[in-house]
Amino acid sequence: MEKEKEEWILSELERTLEKTADETLRVLIKAAQGIIKEQSRRMEQMEAEIDGTLWSPRRWGE
């Protein structure tokens, strides 16, 4: 996910949080923010691993 899209959805959720009085929904919105951040981290780590593996000296001989 592009950084801008992540930041945009997180701020959208933050705005939603400010307008929502329903306690259950507020907790779930916070959980959604947490999950999106975790997904984003996971994607970055996997992309870094793919880049690292492709550039590994072990692969230079292929």
């Binding site: 996910m1 899209k5 959805i9 959208e12 959720l13 939603t16 307008k19 929502t20 329903d22 306690e23 259950t24 929904l25 907790v27 779930l28 919105i29 916070k30 959980a31 959604a32 947490g34 999950i35 999106i36 975790e38 997904q39 984003s40 996971r42 994607m43 996997m46 992309e47 691993e49 793919i50 593996t53 492709l54």
Partner: protein, 232 residues
Amino acid sequence: MKTLVIVSHPEILDSASQQFFLHSVKGFDDVTVHHLESAYPDGQINVAEEQALLNSHDRILFQFPFYWYSSPYMLKKWQDEVLLEGFAYGEGRRALYGKEFGLIIMIGINEREYQAGGSERFSINELTKPFQAMAHKTGMTYLRPLAVFQFGYMDDEEKTETLIKYWQLLTMKNDHSLETREEWLINRLQKAMTGNSDAELTQRIRFAIQVIEENRQTIDGLKMVLEDIRRP
């Protein structure tokens, strides 16, 4: 999945932590909360009714304050009287076999004290061995416990994080992978939005769900690429 939360607390109305957690699950249709001291103010437990309750649920949770490294008296009495030979263990039928079992414990002392070198010396996992043995003997899968340390000192963020863990222990399948937590969250968001007439809110929540689902597709795609390039 249907979850039964068996709560034992002699003065539940005075407990801010119990009220906080129990109040939060009032709208959960897949959760039954059963407070022993309210159900049996005279202490006389209806064994047949309790066994029927156990039979009709898939996940059994004990929720209580940690008194002298164990549960309050009423929950011990419940165990002694309800989990009888021939029902819960022994030859023939084992009614709880294949169900899941977990603990939710409210603890007034700091978490760091429950380890070697701490004032309480032993960990929660060590101190709850009798409950683990009970789950083992009755054929239930023991779930990761939720120990809530010093609820009164938590800030709002910590309370929210703990509440999410509580809801997950009550309603999420026993797997804490990111994918399972995503599925669980989407399901809970959809349930929470049922009947909500706020169009703008509904649209924003729908969009958040869509982002979570798209991210999952990307993660699965990256996983396949990684598996491919890791292959010797």
